[in-house]
């Protein structure tokens, strides 16, 4: 009897809480959001792009099999309502929700999933999204044109299908990425290349207009599968790459939210209103300076370690980044499941640095002629400038070459540098992230510092066949420790991404893989918004 009462009370309480929050939610209004990364979007056909600027808008138009659950920082099912994984972890059986419609009114069925995946695999030139599905059986053969049907994608009925993998890999970590989304075949075929500028998806918002170079406008899709959602009537993405202008537009209430750069961080933190409306997350990007082992001094581990000891990273983070970063230990960021909080950290120790330089035979130092970087504030040449006086103390002189992203990319890939400063994607899957440094990965595919270590490779190979996640992460952690000890890079920081918003904006979330990947389905604005009733 008593037990029954408690359960009832609990039920009432949850019901009350749920309805309470449901009542607080206000429907309607417009959100002025931003697309802050560089210039204009290139396309809203997410299969064809790999630019975050495109994903962050497109992910609210399109949907895939998984989405990122920001609250728990894991991928969760999106379009399918259920999933069964076979014992050998190689066959995934999905059952789609029965109530999903595309923006053109047609129901989403199994054929759309298979068609969309086939399109990714067969697209010429190859779709950037291909790497997220290349572990599916037949994907590679299909990609190379050896077969014409996707053998690993099996239709069972209109709502049920199977995906068969070549190896037991956790599919969710690949498929949550906004590049793998499901399209209505007829619209893609009807529009051809123009689909990229007139996208039709099944997400919470419908595409309305894209004023090239200025803004993208989306409106609420009434038949979105989540009942009663989204709350907003309209979303405008202002394309604003210029941080100074974005800051002013936010203060002028033209933007409802903004991504905060380092220089504005102290100011926003000190503001009594804005400081209460900021969300922070340890983003999965590692900022570092890569050292080219072909440059003779950098072939010596002691020199690389000396550089790590010689630079006060914490001070640079405090002064130049205004505390908007987490000091790095190894490669994997603090938000990674394989992060080792007790791992080795190179503390500022100029004496030790000098000693190591002497040991390596570079007592008199050397000149780094090609220290390349972009003008980025947090991981560009400004950091070199801050490093310079400290490196000078151990005899190392830097010659900075600043360039824009396109030129920089080409230089890194052709190993045409002594040092580069960059921000590398380091999440969310720890093994995949760490694998870029394996000996057999070439420079063009991401091993920019030509890291070679047999023991490291072995650990990662073991991790790939590990039974449990915990076991896998433990092995990756060990690999990261080797990487840190070898110091092929100067470990700088993990990004702390910060989003500030006005008090009338609710439900923005802390998205660790990329703060700008904001799912706006549950976001709402209250009546104090200047655009509370704008449609």
């Amino acid at each position: 009897m008593k037990k029954w009462m408690i359960i009832l009370a609990a039920l009432f309480l949850t019901g009350f809480l749920l309805s309470g929050s449901a009542y607080a939610v206000r429907k309607g209004g417009t959100l002025n959001f931003m697309a802050p990364y560089g210039g204009d979007l290139s396309t809203l056909d997410l299969t064809k792009t790999s630019r975050y600027q495109d994903y962050l808008v497109g992910m609210n138009i399109h949907r895939g099999l998984y989405r990122w659950d920001a609250q728990n920082s894991v991928p969760v099912l999106d379009l399918p309502e259920s999933l069964e994984i076979s014992a050998d972890k190689k066959t995934y059986t999905f059952k789609l929700r029965p109530n999903i419609t595309f923006h053109n009114g047609r129901q989403l069925v199994t054929d759309d999933v298979i068609w969309s995946f086939t399109r990714i695999a067969t697209m010429k030139p190859s779709a950037p999204a291909f790497r997220y599905i290349n572990m599916i059986e037949g994907a590679k053969d299909l990609h190379e044109g050896k077969i014409s049907t996707f053998t690993g994608m099996k239709k069972i009925d209109d709502l049920t299908f199977q995906i068969v993998l070549t190896a037991p890999i956790d599919l969710s970590y690949s498929l949550w990425f906004p590049a793998v989304v499901i399209y209505p075949k007829e619209e893609v075929e009807r529009l051809g290349d123009a689909f990229g500028t007139n996208p039709v998806g099944c997400g919470p918002f419908k595409f309305v207009k894209w004023v090239k170079g200025s803004e993208v406008i989306l409106e609420k899709f009434d038949n979105f599968y989540m009942e009663g959602m989204p709350y907003l009537d309209k979303v405008t993405y202002k394309i604003m790459g210029e941080a100074a202008a974005r800051d002013l537009a936010f203060k002028a209430r033209e933007l409802d939210a903004t991504i905060v750069g380092a220089v504005n961080y102290p100011e926003y933190k000190a503001d009594p209103v804005i400081s209460k409306n900021m969300i922070e997350v340890a983003e999965m990007f590692t900022r570092l300076v890569g050292m080219n082992p072909d440059f003779k001094p950098f072939a010596d581990k002691r020199v690389r370690q000396a550089i790590n000891y010689a630079i006060p990273s914490d001070l640079i983070i405090e002064k130049i980044l205004k505390g908007k970063a987490f000091p790095a230990r190894g490669y994997l960021p603090s938000s990674s499941p394989a992060f080792d909080p007790d791992g080795k950290k190179y503390e500022f120790n100029p004496e030790k640095a000098k000693a190591l330089m002497k040991e390596a035979g570079y007592e008199n130092g050397f000149v780094v002629e090609r220290a390349i970087g972009t003008a980025n504030k947090s991981w560009g040449t400004g950091i070199y400038e801050a490093m310079m006086p400290y490196l000078k103390k151990i005899g190392i002189e830097l010659k900075i070459q600043q360039m824009e992203g396109a030129a920089m990319d080409a230089r890194i890939r052709s190993s045409d540098f002594d040092m580069f400063i960059w921000s590398l994607d380091s999440g969310p899957d720890s093994l995949e992230t760490m694998s870029r440094w394996k000996s057999d990965v070439d420079v063009g595919s991401g091993n920019y510092v030509k890291f070679k270590n047999a023991e490291f490779d072995k650990l990662l190979d073991q991790a790939a066949v590990a039974e449990t996640d915990a076991e896998k992460n433990e092995l990756v952690k060990k690999a990261d420790a080797i990487f840190t000890e070898e110091a092929p890079v100067w470990f700088f920081n993990y990004n702390k991404a910060i989003m500030a918003f006005h008090p009338w904006v609710h439900n923005l979330s802390k998205v660790a893989p990329e703060m700008m990947f904001q799912d706006l389905t549950a976001v709402w604005v209250d009546e104090t918004s200047p655009r509370a009733n704008e449609k």
Binding site: D40, G213, A245, L248, F285
Partner: protein, 314 residues
């Protein structure tokens, strides 16, 4: 006059051909390539070397330079500017959307510059060599002396953030509210220029013999200004405005980036940084053609203003 216009139009052809060659060579030797830039600034490590080769094949970048130029020329003749590497859209389409906002911005800016610059220059010339002249010129040249992005940020701060008078950025369907700040930022730099040109023109004309005579005859200063000076000065001012229009179109590069204005300038910068060569070529071609056209119009306007010049259109 019509025949003259046609002849001038025909003269554009070699100019445009030569420019297209220069630009083509310049852009095609740029380091970096669109395949890499399609990945965006933050590394996602999505492309393998084979992918890049494949994209290059797809875009025809594996062919020799002369062949690519021939293909480009062939397209140019038929009015087809090719297809964007990254956006996979016809360049014509991209340009079509962007021309009007830029023209609107550039024309408004030029209007602001003329409305402020010409009276200032006129006043300055009449006070030539005196303190009032210097002060006026300092005022006029001030605009030119400030880098545009700096001026733009200051305007945004005071007008939009402090006093909340105008929106700080965006196109807003091209409303007047939205165009004021960018046009002002762009135009103010040309106030000084037009003021200087006007001043120089008026100073020169005032020193001409027949004006001196008129002055000696006791015609009121005002009347002299109106009758003789204005018409002569107008030609020079028009020429300057015309010559500067191309420069102004190019300056939209900065202003459009700052204000998220959906024009050619921001497209040009994006496409150069993304190494989207067909789009860059298209943008430059349009900016140059506009410049040439505007100057042709200016030339034809001379005839309207001054019948003596019309006689020379043969």
């Amino acid at each position: 006059m019509f025949a003259y216009a046609v002849r001038r139009l025909l003269q554009f052809i070699p100019t445009i051909l030569a420019i297209s060659l220069i630009i083509f060579i310049l852009l095609n030797v740029l380091p970096g390539n669109a395949a890499l830039m399609s990945r965006g600034e933050q590394d996602t490590g999505t492309l393998t070397t084979e992918d890049i080769e494949e994209m290059k094949r797809d875009w025809g970048l594996d062919k020799p330079l002369w062949y690519r130029y021939a293909v480009y020329l062939k397209g140019l003749v038929t009015g087809d500017l090719g297809k964007s590497f990254l956006r996979r859209e016809p360049v014509n389409q991209l340009l079509k959307e962007r021309i009007w906002p830029t023209l609107k911005l550039a024309m408004t800016a030029m209007l602001i510059a003329i409305c402020l610059g010409v009276p200032l220059g006129f006043y300055s010339a009449l006070r030539q060599g005196r303190i009032a002249d210097t002060i006026t010129m300092i005022g006029a040249v001030s605009g030119v002396s400030m880098p545009q992005f700096w001026l733009g940020l200051l305007l945004m701060y005071f007008v939009s953030v402090k006093f909340q008078l105008l929106p700080p950025q965006g196109y807003g369907e091209g409303s007047i509210k939205h165009i004021v700040l960018p046009a002002f930022t762009l135009g103010i730099g040309y106030v000084g220029l037009l003021a200087r040109t006007t001043r120089a023109a008026v100073v020169e004309i005032l020193s001409l013999d027949y004006i001196r005579t008129a002055r000696a005859k006791g015609l009121s200063e005002l009347l002299i200004n109106q009758k003789h000076v204005m018409r002569n000065a107008l030609i020079l001012i028009l020429t300057t405005a015309g010559l500067q229009f191309g420069d102004l179109m190019a300056q939209t590069v900065i202003v459009e980036k700052l204000f998220s204005w959906p024009g050619l300038g921001s497209l040009l910068v994006d496409s150069i940084f993304q190494r989207d060569i067909p789009v860059t070529q298209g943008c430059i071609l349009v900016i140059i053609s506009t410049f040439l056209l505007v100057n042709l119009i200016v030339d034809l306007l001379y005839g309207v203003i001054d019948p003596r010049i019309r006689a020379s259109y043969k």
